[in-house]
């Protein structure tokens, strides 16, 4: 039980104007806090309450938007507090979700060009690359070790947002093996390539569109995650690929493989490898690395 994390007994409730209610489960990030936010979000969804307009589970919190002409924000708060009590009594959360393989070209030439452009005045350590810096600040021997740690354990999508379909991912690794990296001193105003794999704080992201960004740039993913034209098979039902609770396994690829997969994307034949799994948060925190092996075996069809 040594690696269990304790979250506060009660969430903090606070209003964002007259339409938004923020429920902060914990100030700090943990899988436990995220699972509590998910449990409350799902219970609220199931209640199908008139006047609840948006339910947005986030990393360690939950944002709810209401129409105050239909439900008084204070009544919404009381209701969510009831659901919080039920979630606590309900024990560990299980999620019917999927594990997805995401091929990544680490330290690729596209993000590397952008890394070189934004050094002095933007980055903490202008002398090396973002991956060099991320390795050093986590006490790792070199960039390769950072990359290996980045893809050897799976991640969970604990929030979708910022811009269109962008996943925030949390390492399912043991807390003492989780890597934390500061964001850029000053964000890049533009030019972060779409599908850049980034790392900031305790979170990994995949940028869904080109633009500004403050996360350290680690590599580039080959497959699309946001497709407004809904061209590829994965986007038939939604232009947004990621869902809250998705489990991600990164797989390192080289430049040749990256270009081969990009050609498949062009041809409309690209497909992600995904397998449905049930995620049990109780088992996951009991033996994190053992449970992660089970998840990754599911992806390999074992």
């Amino acid at each position: 039980m040594s690696n269990q994390i304790t979250i506060p007994d009660n969430a903090r409730y606070t209003f964002g104007g007259d339409e938004f209610l923020l429920v902060e489960i914990d100030e700090a990030m943990s899988l436990e806090a995220n699972m509590r936010a998910v449990a409350i979000a799902r219970a609220l969804q199931d209640r199908d309450v008139d006047g609840v307009v948006e339910i947005c589970p986030a990393n360690a919190s939950l944002l709810i938007r209401c129409d105050p002409d239909v439900i008084h924000p204070h009544d919404l708060r009381s209701l969510v507090q009831e659901l919080e009590e039920e979630a606590k009594a309900g024990g560990p959360t299980t999620l019917d979700t999927r594990i997805i393989e995401i091929p990544v070209w680490y330290q690729d030439e596209y993000t590397d060009a952008v890394v070189r452009k934004y050094r002095e005045g933007y980055h903490q350590d202008p002398s090396g690359t973002d991956v060099d810096y991320a390795a050093a600040i986590n006490g790792l021997s070199d960039a390769d070790e950072f990359v290996r740690r980045h893809h050897e354990q799976p991640w969970m999508v604990t929030m979708v947002g910022f811009v269109a379909g962008l996943p925030f991912m949390f390492q399912l690794a043991d807390p003492d093996k989780q890597m934390e990296v500061p964001k850029y001193l000053s964000p890049r105003p533009a030019g972060t390539p779409a599908l850049t794999v980034g790392h900031g704080g305790a979170f990994g992201v995949i940028y869904s569109v080109e633009g500004a960004g403050g996360y350290q740039m680690i590599g580039i993913a080959a497959g699309p995650i946001f497709d407004p034209e809904q061209r590829l098979s994965h986007f038939e039902e939604s232009m947004l690929f990621f869902r809250h609770g998705d489990i991600v396994k990164f797989t390192p690829i080289d430049g040749d493989e990256y270009r081969r997969l990009r050609q498949q994307v062009e041809d409309g034949t690209f497909e992600y490898r995904t397998v449905p799994v049930q995620f049990d948060s109780g088992q996951a925190v009991e033996d994190r690395e053992g449970y992660n092996r089970t998840l990754m075996e599911a992806l390999d069809g074992r």
């Binding site: 104007g17 938004f20 944002l63 105050p68 704080g201």
Partner: protein, 322 residues
Amino acid sequence: MDVEIIQPGLATTVQDRGRTGYYHLGIPQGGALDQYSYELGNALVGNLDGEAALECTYMGPEIRAHGRCLVAVTGASVEVRVNDDVVPQWTSFTMETDDVLSFGIISEGARFYIAFGGGVDVPEVLGSRSTYPIGRLGGVEGRQLDDGDRISIAGTGAGEVGAEIPEELRPTFPKDLTVRIITGLYDHLLTEKGRRNLLEEEWSLTPVADRMGMRFEGPGVEWKEREQPFGAGSDPSNIVDAGYAVGSIQIPGGTQPIILHRDAVSAGGYAMVGTVISADMDAVGRAAPGTVVHFSDVTMDEALEARRKRGEALRTAIDSLR
């Protein structure tokens, strides 16, 4: 009928009441920033169902009619011309084939709306016609209008010409604006002095103000020193990335407060210290750079009362057309 964009102006987009239900996936609300002026533009041309209109920022477009249409221009004060004739704002008029609609310089405010009888007929995407340029969706190909665009208008040009919103029901554009907020979210991370600065000092709207956010300059605020929670990042204004309330105020690094508006990012890692009440979001959308703002802290009851009054004012203005 349709209209042709001869030149698009600075940042003209198709907007309506916006979209809900996709915020948890990072798709923002969108929609006209000054909903009051947008709704009245629609009402003047007989649209009562959230039809799409054009939102023009600072510099207006030049538009040629191909067919007959009923038009009204509301929002920021601007000279409106059809060919060489000046026509009044807040009043419906018709355009015939080959008439050209153009605009002078905005004299007050930031955004005006061009409503067409029947509405701008672009496909609905995720329940709205509003343009979301970052996600390349909604509006015309998910982008600002461009030279040569042809846009279909759903109406026939029928309807009452000369319908007018009375002067006293039109919005004002004060140079000194009080914006009511509810403090909260992460305001406990501010020092007492930081909080006083936010609520008692003047904040001036900078030119960095668009549909995503409005950045203000002023005395700055102070954050409490604290040990940062796991995953939050190293600056005292950083939090574990959370959902952003529309209208919330964040102050990255403690220097320039930013009010997030309808196209803002849906989530992120900067502490929000309060949120503009729903009744005042239109006024924020109307503010031009240089506007001096005072943030005034109100209670939930006061916010809900202001919301009720704002809804009543809109209904009164629409009813005045009957």
